[in-house]
Symmetry: C2
């Protein structure tokens, strides 16, 4: 159960956007996932919106953006200083 | 009528995030706006989420994120080449 929830999350980082687009398409086409959640923090947030829009507009017209949530996460760096970073979760549904 | 709608939009660009935070707070405190819409394209999308989170968490706890929408806009550059850019609209409501 936990495993199948885990599989439907794609964490967006610093790779080229098309790697994430392919990851999302693969999740949907494996057949089990009707929902894929994109998660990112900080500067990767812009790329996350790109990935959602590209999947929806270019590859999977049957996929819709179901929900978008933002939040703030507290981060402690290696040198001990703390700071806040914004996060986003975009839920795609087919 | 058109003017009062115009006033409630804050376009997020490349300035420091606190200028936009102040702009949003000013819009709300002028008294007329119960809704302020943040709009951005491309890399400014991350900053837009930062601005929304900072306003909500640090300055105006009575403000909520009411809606988040993403879209794709076609852009023609000065050299004539066309490309697509992602856009975001975050609606804040008090």
């Amino acid at each position: 159960m936990a495993e199948s929830i885990e599989k439907d999350i794609v964490y967006i980082g610093n790779k080229p956007q098309m790697s994430y687009v392919l990851a999302v398409i693969t999740q949907f086409n494996e057949g089990k996932a009707s929902e894929v959640v994109l998660k990112a923090r900080g500067r990767a947030i812009s790329r996350t919106v790109d990935v959602a829009e590209i999947v929806k507009n270019k590859f999977m017209p049957n996929v819709k953006i179901d929900d978008i949530r933002t939040s703030t996460e507290a981060i402690t760096r290696e040198d001990g200083t703390a700071s806040n970073v914004s996060a986003i979760e975009i839920t795609l549904r087919k």
